[in-house]
């Protein structure tokens, strides 16, 4: 157990030394806490002494994002100003992050729209008219026309879609160019239009430190073969964590590929960092410390919970997905990939990182309705897994928030629902493969290629809006270091027994029952920590 100083019971939250103010301990007078459980909200009394990690308050957004973007373009890092790189007749491709960033999609105008509008003005003023906009969706699903329109605005959409504004196609036999191999034999295969452009301008949004950097081009615009060397279980096991680029094998391998990209392509990188103002106005209470709730906040919460209790799940899902995030840009840099990324990472950690002391025996992670892979869709069981063992476990720097062999408690109904249009290969993976084995190595060697080359899945990826056939494997590998580290996962509020069983988890009817089960595994007085998501909180561990 972690040692703690003797505790004086006071009314309200008690902050500890050397931890940020957002690290709060539950005492006898603390209010019950609000937890997401998919599309529902729970209100639970946590055991006294439980440590709750709240997100930091949003950093003030830049007052004039347009001016900041122009400044970044004119004063890039380790590169010539963008206008100086342009000449009439040149071929330029603007590559942009896909809908997996940010989460949920931000209120319009999306920051990508603001940046691209400025870029197009600049390109036009310099006589560059061969311009394409490519969505760097890698093996993610293609965006629908409506999603593409929302991302860049009607004006750009009408001018460029569909011939000059489209999704990257990792399975286009003529659309990929092999640039070479790294010294570790990792192939680098990139979108042909980008490779054959005189200049690629990458427009990034950094939501978590895993995003951006060389991952933008080397992963966002590659094919299955180029992903295989790092989207695999051993790489994830060797990443401690993959949110900490310096200690991430995933990042190391991607950087090796990025070096090859830089050798063959002229990439001008624009990276942005957002604050964490996910909810504002009527839903702002969801980000607050419950001890600081006003009567109005409580009324809003009760009204929301009552409404949700009356709605069918599909309607609740629709409701949550229709609330855009109120993010604001806090930083923008442009220029060469590495220095740009380094600066943006600092801003990310400034916003998300909480100074936390000591690991927990039990980690409670409420699972919300959304992940990077189910925008406008269903958080299916594999994605619940990737949120828990993948993202939440990896939200640390230094050492995991949970002790080795500790218990992770997730709150989610674990419904057996899949989106047939977006996640067809997930269905087969979950129902056919996981009952046979949960061993990521075995799954990779025995089945990954079969799924990746399944003609139906390839066509659904290319012509429909489906994730690539190999994607469910990547989702399973994403949880691999969590699986190796965590002793037991208990899912509180699971509405069925078979989904947790297939995932290798225990289930409990409620959070108190899950905590009681956890105590039987780690001892009667465990150190319990809860991450108050959303928005994102990351532990900067001492």
């Amino acid at each position: 157990m972690r040692e703690r100083a003797p505790k004086t019971i006071l009314r309200g939250p008690v902050a500890r030394n050397k931890e940020d103010d957002q690290v709060v301990y539950i005492d006898g007078d603390s209010a019950p806490r609000i937890l997401f459980s998919g599309e529902d909200l729970l209100l639970e009394d946590l055991p006294i002494g439980t440590r709750v990690l709240y997100p930091k308050p949003p950093i003030e957004g830049l007052a004039n994002p347009g001016a900041a973007i122009r400044y970044a373009l004119n004063h890039p890092l380790d590169a010539e100003p963008l206008y100086a790189q342009l000449a009439p007749g040149m071929r330029v491709t603007i590559a942009v992050d896909d809908i997996s960033l940010p989460l949920p999609p931000m209120t319009t105008p999306d920051i990508r729209q603001t940046i691209i509008e400025i870029l197009l003005e600049l390109l036009d003023a310099n006589g560059v008219d061969d311009v394409h906009i490519v969505i760097a969706n890698s093996l993610h699903r293609r965006l629908t026309a409506a999603e593409m329109k929302r991302m860049v605005g009607a004006k750009i959409y009408d001018a460029f879609y569909p011939d000059r504004y489209y999704n990257h196609d990792a399975e286009d036999p003529d659309g990929i160019v092999h640039l070479g191999k790294t010294e570790h034999n990792e192939p680098v295969n990139i979108n042909r239009r980008c490779v054959e452009s005189d200049l690629v301008i990458y427009v990034n949004i950094n939501l978590v430190p895993m995003d951006g950097g060389h991952k933008s081009v080397a992963v966002g615009l590659c094919d299955y073969e180029a992903l295989r060397p790092h989207h695999e279980p051993q790489t994830i096991r060797d990443s401690d964590s993959y949110m900490d680029p310096k200690r991430s094998m995933l990042n190391t391998k991607v950087e090796r590929q990025g070096a090859i990209v830089d050798r063959h392509m002229n990439v001008f990188h624009i990276e942005t960092a957002l604050n964490n103002r996910i909810y504002a106005g009527a839903t702002a209470f969801l980000c607050k410390n419950e001890d600081e709730f006003t009567e109005v906040d409580r009324l809003k919460f009760e009204a929301m919970r009552w409404t949700l209790s009356k709605l069918p799940r599909a309607a609740k899902r629709k409701l949550f997905h229709s609330i855009p995030a109120q993010y604001q840009m806090v930083a923008v840099y442009a220029g060469k990939t590495e220095p740009v990324h380094e600066r943006i990472l600092k801003h990310c950690w400034d916003q998300y990182g909480l100074h936390v002391r000591g690991q927990a025996d039990v980690l409670i992670c409420p699972v919300p309705f959304i992940s990077p892979y189910n925008v406008n869709s269903i958080l299916n069981p594999l994605l619940v897994q990737v949120m828990g063992l993948g993202y939440f476990h990896n939200f640390y720097r230094g050492k995991p928030l949970l002790k080795k062999g500790g218990v992770m408690i997730l709150t989610h109904p674990c419904y057996d629902e899949f989106d047939h249009e977006h996640h067809p290969s997930y269905i087969e993976f979950f129902n056919r493969l996981l009952p046979e084995t949960r061993d990521a190595m075995k799954l990779r060697h025995k089945y990954e290629e079969e799924f990746a080359k399944n003609p139906s899945y390839i066509e659904m990826y290319r012509r429909g809006n489906a994730y690539h056939g190999a994607h469910p494997f990547f989702m399973w590998y994403w949880g691999e270091n969590g699986r190796q580290h965590i002793g037991k996962v208990i899912v509180a509020g699971a509405e069925n027994a078979h989904v947790p069983r297939i995932l290798g988890w225990d289930r409990a009817d409620s959070l108190p029952e899950a905590i009681a089960m956890a105590k039987s595994a780690v001892g009667p007085s465990p150190d319990i920590t809860m991450m108050h998501h959303p928005p994102i909180v990351m532990a900067d561990m001492e």
Binding site: F418, H420, I427, Y447, E450, K453, P455, S456, E459, R463
Partner: protein, 244 residues
Amino acid sequence: MQAVLEVMQSTDKYGISWYRLPPRMGAAAFYDLDGTLVRTNLVHAFAFSARNQQGILKSLIKTAATFVSVPMFLAADFYNRRLFNDLFFVRYKGESEDRLRCLAQELFDTVLRPSIFPGAYELIDKSRQLGLRQVLVTGALDITVGPLAKHLKIDDYVTNRLEFVDGYATGRLLPPVMAAATKASWMRIYAEKENLNLSDCYAYSDSMSDLPMLSVVGHPTAVNPDIRLRGTAQQHDWPILDLR
């Protein structure tokens, strides 16, 4: 590709047990044709034949008769594929075999080839790259399917065949009539004969009448499905593909 590896044990003359793997079984991709790989159906092919009768009057009458029968064909197909076959193929009665064969290439060039879905070429190509044998299992007539199968580089195909007596169609089909469960039976026999593992095989169809064909393979896919097949595919968690 997943292979079924059943270890077989044998003992040699020295009493030592040996284990060996059986020869690797192959796999195939089975395709329905009409509505799955091509936009047209049996009626289009017949309408082409009706339009190209000897003499304008005969052509007009046959074409008009075909046109007015379309609602009946649709209703019959919705109800039962066998009923549709009984009602539809009788329209070929009296057609000359020579003439039908002569028109086949023209039918392919003018009607079938432009009707191939853009995604069909790619689906077949990806499937072939996976080492799967390409097999058409269709209720269309052998006369019309031949050139199309050659064009799509299909390895094997099974079709319906008209019965001809003295060079003229009787309006009946020769058994086995390829529809519904017969397609699945044929696939089972074909797989056994060709040493294919049906669990590794793929099947593609657009129609609810092909449910048996989709059900016997390990990788069924609904392609451009009608509303009934779409619902069934969703219930069974099968992939749903749009090649149009």
